[in-house]
């Protein structure tokens, strides 16, 4: 029998979670929208965007160890893809999200990936201990919070950020028209410089990524 690909394995786990949430909605907490949220979190656009981050950052980071902090990590897809790329156990990965159910479901989806899921505000902890801080959720985060996040890293740590130009959604409060305007906003906050700025075209909208120190 053909072995499941990594993606198929995660999507299968996602199906089990969907069943769990549906059952829970019948007899316990009614949070059936969570099903749609799971599906969005592992859809092709999110998968491509996060894989793009992992592939580009892997070339720049050039180490097998360290500690990565992901702010607004949702159910943990980025953390999982990082773990697949950096298989060395001495790389520590923390995925934080303010939504408490992200921690609960993150453990269930990616229980075998050695990811530390936390329920917390991304600027509530000391980030100076991390070799890299990252967030692919910048479109959901106010500029003043993002600025605090960037400034809280140590001077030689990496920062990896993604946003988009999909301004139509109510929860998208920090979109940019193009990658240059996003990079220009980030650059003055860095201790060194920008090492990568790029655009991923995703059909109806573009995703922008900036990597710097």
């Amino acid at each position: 029998m053909k072995r499941l690909t990594l993606k198929e394995k995660i999507l299968n786990r996602c199906l089990k979670l969907i069943e769990e949430v549906y059952d829970e909605s019948m007899y316990g907490e009614n949070d059936i929208y969570r099903i749609k949220d799971f599906i969005h979190s592992v859809d092709n656009n999110h998968w491509k965007s996060k894989q793009w981050l992992v592939d580009e950052f892997y070339k720049l980071y050039n180490h097998t160890d360290g500690s990565f902090y992901i702010g607004g990590g949702w159910y943990g897809l980025l953390a999982y893809l990082i773990r697949e790329k950096w298989e060395n156990e001495s790389l520590n990965i923390t995925s934080g999200d303010i939504d408490p159910r992200c921690e609960e479901f993150g453990w269930k989806l990616f229980h075998s990936s050695d990811i530390n899921f936390m329920t917390e505000d991304m600027v509530s902890r000391d980030l100076s201990e991390y070799s890299t801080i990252m967030s692919t959720s910048c479109e959901h985060i106010e500029p003043q919070i993002l600025e605090k996040f960037i400034k809280s890293k140590s001077s030689n740590a990496w920062i990896v950020l993604q946003t988009n130009n999909y301004d139509e959604l109510n929860e998208h409060i920090n979109c940019y028209p193009d990658v240059m305007s996003f990079a220009n906003w980030i650059e003055p906050l860095l201790s060194e410089r920008i090492y990568f700025a790029g655009t991923l075209r995703l059909g109806d909208f573009d995703r922008f990524m900036v990597i710097g120190k």
Binding site: I98, E142, N170, E171
Partner: protein, 207 residues
């Protein structure tokens, strides 16, 4: 009594707010009128401006929920009107019947399609086009929202759905208080207000 309007972005203009204000002061000019806004340019000078803060940032109608924050700078009884509301007769007469200890909101009694009761679409049969309450009450609605804001913004299209499906208590105004421009072309009662429910509201065209 505080009468409050919320204007965020460019969908509605200060002229729209001023027009509603002018309609309302025909019925009561002694109340204090406020506009909670990110841009008070050209608002009538008799309307008190309350600035919408830049943090936490909210778009569109979600700023209405911030009226229930502890930090909202108003004291006492409050009555909120959506800007796309037309005043047909005295909208304040109803206040004799309102319990200001409770949150009171419009009943969209014209919504009869069973689709509104489906769990999966989170639709509701209330509308926050007019709300009455006492400032400082119901702050849990804001406090709980802000803890997990992003999820609620994805889950619910607006504050009406948030209020109902997060199980907050509310009362409703009598059905005869309101007419829906979109759904009730003919009625057999005389309402105090007409609600437009996010129809492309162009005050001048409707009048």
């Amino acid at each position: 009594m505080n009468v409050i309007f919320v204007k965020w972005g460019t969908k509605y203009s200060s002229d729209d707010v001023n027009a509603l204000y002018n309609n309302l002061i025909e019925y009561n000019s002694t109340y204090t009128y406020h506009c909670y806004t990110d841009d008070p340019t050209n608002l009538n000078k008799n309307i008190n401006v309350i600035w919408i803060p830049s943090y936490p940032m909210l778009k569109k109608w979600w700023n209405k929920l911030r009226m229930f924050s502890n930090e909202f700078p108003v004291i006492g009884k409050c009555m909120f009107f959506d800007i796309d509301t037309d005043i047909i007769k005295d909208p304040f007469k109803i206040l004799e019947e309102v319990d200001f200890n409770k949150l009171t909101i419009l009943n969209t009694h014209w919504k009869s399609d069973p689709i509104y009761d489906r769990v999966t679409n989170y639709d509701v049969k209330i509308a926050s086009g007019v709300i009455t309450w006492t400032a400082g009450n119901h702050t849990e609605m804001w406090n709980n929202f802000i803890i997990n804001r992003d999820y609620f913004l994805r889950k619910y299209k607006g504050i009406d759905r948030y209020i109902v499906h997060e199980n907050y208590d509310y009362e409703t105004f009598p059905d005869t208080y309101v007419q829906s421009w979109k759904y009730q072309k003919e009625i057999d009662y005389e309402p105090a207000i007409m609600t437009y429910e996010e129809v492309n509201f162009e005050r001048k065209n409707i009048k």
